[in-house]
Subunit: 349 residues, 3 copies
C-alpha cells in the first residue's frame, strides 16, 4: 500500500467532514527573527517587547500573517495538494494573540462542495481553524480551492455552496487586540504620526518602496511555514510546466505587501480580519514587488476605545511602481497587479 | 609565524592522537527555526514542544542531523581542511537528546592512517565525539578522509586500518530515544498512519517530492554549522577548479533527503544510528533533489518496547525523479544518484 | 497630506537637533542564529554560553557588529534615506554588553552641517546613540553623509564641522569588556594559540578564505537590521541606475570581513571601538570577498589587566585574494579594495 500522501481529490471531500491536520508547531524567537529577515517588517509591536508591553501585550506577539501562514501551511497536505487553483479567502478572523512558545495546530471543516461543469474538477470550501496548546482558537478562516477529481466519471456530489460574508463586521473585530491606551503609544518609536482618525475613506497611499524577490527567499519562507505545495520548490518539474518557473506562495506576496505598507500605515499594528483576497497573477523570482492601499472604510470597535479599525484594500504589483494606483480595471485588473487583499487593520486612536 | 590555520596534512596525524576542536556552540530556538526554513522538515517531535512531551521528551529536541552537522562542522578545520575527499562514515550513534540551550563541543581521536601508493596522499581515520556542557556524549562517529601530504618525499607512516562495523547492531540503538508510549502517539498529528510494524524488509518508498537548491541556501546552512570547508563558499576559487562551481556540503544533501523522506516515513521520528554513507556524486546549486528509501532491515530494540527500528537505505538524486528507484548499478550507481545513506530510524510500534 | 516617509533633506537638519528613531528592537536567539548563518562567524564568545561565562560574560553576548547594524539601521529612515553617499564613521565605541532579550533604541544628534559648493547637496554630521531598555548606552558613533537638498535655491546654513578624533584613545576602550582572566581562556576551544602579546605593530595577516555573496543573503541581512535604504532591495529601480545592480549594505561587507578575520585573529573576541571606516567601492552580488589586516597599534587598557587592545586596519576586497595585501595606493586604493576599516579589537593577554 502506498505510504506517501497522494493528497485528497474532489471525491474525498464531503460537507461536514472534519480534518485534523498534521504537524503541530511551536513558534519561537527564531521564527520571529526569520520573519523579520524575510520581509524587513518594522511594526514596533512585533519588533520590541518593551513597546508591545506598553501597548498592552504580555510581550512581543508574532506577526499576524506569520500565524496565518503557519496555520495555512498545515492545511495544504490535506486540502490543496491537488489544487488547481486557490480561489479565495473569506471571514478570516484573528482571535487570540500568539506568543513565543505557543504551539499551533489546525483543523478544517468542509463547508461546501460543488463540481464544475467540466466534470474534471470541483470547488471545495473549508473553514480552517488554528488553535493553541490550550485549545483556544487563534485564527479562523474560510477558503475555497479548485481540486481535481480522482476519476472524471465519478458521480457528482450534491452541490453545497456556503454563504460567506462579503466582509467581517466591525463588531466582530478586535478579539486578539490588547487594551491599547492611546496616550501610552509613542508615535516616534512607532514610526508614524498618523493615528486612526487621520485616515479617510477613499484615501489612497502609495507605499513607495519596492522589494525584489529571490528564489532562496520564498523557499525559505514557505518551508518555515511547512507549506508543502509542490509548485514552490521543484524547478525540475515546474520547468516543464506552463510558466517554466517555480510559483511563489501567495502568502509570501501578502507578507511583502504588508511590510511595504509600513511606509504610510506605520501605526496599523494589528491585522484583525481578512475580508477577502485574490492572487490576481502569479509572482516569480527576480520581480520587484510594490504596493499601495486604499482606505475602504473606517470603523469604531464596540468596547474598544483605544483603537479604531481601518478597512484597507492593499494591491501588490510586480515590476510596476504604484504612484498611479494600479488596481481593478474594466475587465479585471491593471497590468502588473498580482494581489488584491481586503482586510481590517487596527490603529491607536 | 603564520597565524592562520593551514589545516593538518597527512603527516600531522598519528594513531592515538586526540584533537580538541574549536568553537563550542550553544544551540537555540534560532537554530531550529533556520533548520526548518532550510529543509522544511515536518517531523512532529522536532516541530512541537507539546507533541515531543507526549512522546517522552522534555521538550522539542533538535533534529538529529542538525546535531550531526554541528559536531561535524567543528572537526573540519582540523581534520578535513586539506581533504581531497570525504570517503565514508561508520558507527555513528546518537547517544543523548539535545535540547535548546545545550552547548556542543567536539573532539576527534585518530584511529587509523594509511598512505596511498601514489605517495601524495593518505587516508586518515578518526572517531569524532560530540559532548554537551555536562560532558555527556551526544554523538559519536567514525569517518575517513583522503588528505594531502605536506611533503611527497616524507616517509610513510606504519599503516593502521581500523576495523569498522558494517552496521550498528540493533542492541546498540535507542540510547537517545525517550520512553515512547505507542498509545500516546497521535498518527494524525504526526502525519502518517504507518507504524513500525507496517514496514517490511525490501519495501521501497519513493518520496515523490523534489526540492531545488539555491546557492544562498546551502551557504546559509553550512555557515550555520560553522563548517569552514573552502569548497562551499568561494566561487572565485572554485570557478577555476574541476567543476567550476561551489560544491554543496554533503550534509546538506542528507538533510534534504531526510526532509523529503517525511512523505512515506512520517513516523520515523528519530535517527538512532548511521551505518554508513557515500556521497556518490557532487551536488551543485540549481539542481532539484529527489529521494527514495529501501527498508533493509527491521529490528526490535532490547528494553524499548514502545519503538522499533528500521534500517533504511535512502538514495538521493539530482534532477532524477525516483519512481524507478535509481540506486546501485552493476559498476557503481545509476545516473543521477548523489547520495546513499544507510541508517537506523526509530518508529513507534 | 503625505503619510509616507520622504526622508529628511539637507535643509531639515540643524545643529543641536535630536532625532528619536523608530522601531525599538528586542534581540533574541533567532537574531544570533541568523547572524551565524549569514557570516559563519566562529568567535567562541558569541558561539557558546559556556565559553562566554568563563570569559566573564553573563551569557553569550551578541556580536558587536550585529549591535552596530541594528542601531545603524534605525537611523537610516531619518538620516540617510536621501543620502547620496555614506562618507565616514568616527568615534564609535561599544559601551555595554548586549544580551538576548535586550531591546535597543536609537537617537541621533546633529553635530554638523556643511553645504557643498554645488548647492545641490550638503554634508550632515550626526552622533548616533543606541540604548538598551534600561536607558544605558550600548553604542555611540559619529557618522557623516552627503544628503540632497530639497531645494537647490534654499539659503545655505552656517557651516559647522565637528572635530572628530582620528582614533579612539586606548584609555577609552574596554567599557563593554568583561573581566577576562587569561588563565581561564582556552586557546584550543577559541581556535587560536595567539594572544595579544603575539601580535606586533606592522604585522600583516592574510585571512586567506573567500566568501561569495548572493543577493538573497545581503537582503536577508539588511532586512534583519531593519535597514530601509532603498538601494539594497529594489532591482527594478536599481536596474536603471548607474550600476544596474542592487548595492550591498556596507555593513554586510564589514561583517564578512570580520568573520573571515577569525582565520588569523581567532582570539580577537570583542570589538571595542571603530576609529574610522571607508567603503572604497561598492560590492555587488556574485563577487567573492577576501580580507587581510594590519596591526596598526597595540595598547594596554588602564584598569583591565586580562586583555590588551590591537588597533587593526582590515581591508576587504572583491574577487581579489589578499596574499599581496592590496590596500592604499598612491592615489587612492589598489584595485579590488572595497573596504578599509580601522578599529580596536580586544584579546586576552
Amino acid at each position: 500500500m502506498n505510504k506517501t500522501n497522494p493528497g485528497n481529490f474532489f471525491e474525498d471531500f464531503s460537507v461536514g467532514q472534519t480534518i485534523l491536520h498534521a504537524t503541530p508547531r511551536t513558534l519561537y524567537e527564531g521564527d520571529a527573527a526569520l520573519y523579520t529577515a524575510l520581509y524587513g517588517s518594522r511594526f514596533a509591536v512585533e519588533s520590541s517587547d518593551e513597546f508591545a508591553k506598553l501597548a498592552g501585550y504580555d510581550t512581543s506577539p508574532f506577526d499576524d500573517f506569520l500565524v496565518f501562514h503557519i496555520v495555512f501551511g498545515k492545511t495544504v497536505p490535506d486540502i490543496s495538494l491537488n489544487a488547481v487553483a486557490n480561489l479565495g479567502y473569506a471571514e478570516c478572523r484573528f482571535l487570540k494573540r500568539v506568543y513565543r512558545g505557543d504551539t499551533l495546530s489546525a483543523t478544517s471543516e468542509v463547508i461546501g462542495v460543488k463540481e464544475n461543469s467540466s466534470g474534471k474538477t470541483g470547488v471545495v470550501y473549508v473553514r480552517s481553524t488554528g488553535t493553541n496548546q490550550n485549545g483556544e482558537i487563534v485564527l479562523q478562516f474560510a477558503r475555497w480551492v479548485m481540486v481535481n477529481k480522482r476519476d472524471v466519471s465519478s458521480r457528482a456530489q450534491e452541490p453545497v455552496v456556503p454563504e460567506l460574508a462579503d466582509h467581517v463586521a466591525a463588531q466582530d473585530l478586535g478579539a486578539a487586540c490588547p487594551p491599547v491606551v492611546p496616550e501610552d503609544w509613542d508615535n516616534a518609536l512607532a514610526g508614524s504620526s498618523n493615528r486612526w482618525g487621520d485616515y479617510k475613506v477613499g484615501e489612497k497611499i502609495d507605499h513607495v518602496d519596492g522589494m525584489t524577490v529571490e528564489e532562496a527567499e520564498h523557499m525559505l519562507a514557505t518551508r518555515l511555514y511547512q507549506n508543502t505545495a509542490k509548485v514552490h520548490f521543484n524547478q525540475f518539474e515546474q520547468g516543464k510546466g506552463r510558466f517554466g518557473r517555480r510559483l511563489i506562495y501567495g502568502g509570501h506576496v501578502i507578507s511583502i505587501a504588508r511590510s511595504l505598507s509600513f511606509n504610510g500605515l506605520g501605526n496599523a499594528f494589528h491585522i484583525s480580519a481578512i475580508n477577502g483576497g485574490r492572487h490576481v497573477a502569479p509572482l516569480f523570482a527576480d520581480a520587484t514587488v510594490f504596493a499601495w492601499s486604499e482606505v475602504k472604510d473606517v470603523a469604531e470597535i464596540p468596547g474598544q476605545n483605544g483603537v479604531g479599525a481601518l478597512r484597507l484594500v492593499t494591491y501588490a504589483t510586480a515590476d510596476t511602481p504604484c504612484a498611479g494606483f494600479p488596481g481593478r480595471a474594466d475587465k479585471g485588473y491593471d497590468d502588473g497587479v498580482i494581489l488584491e487583499l481586503d482586510y481590517w487593520a487596527l490603529m491607536p486612536r
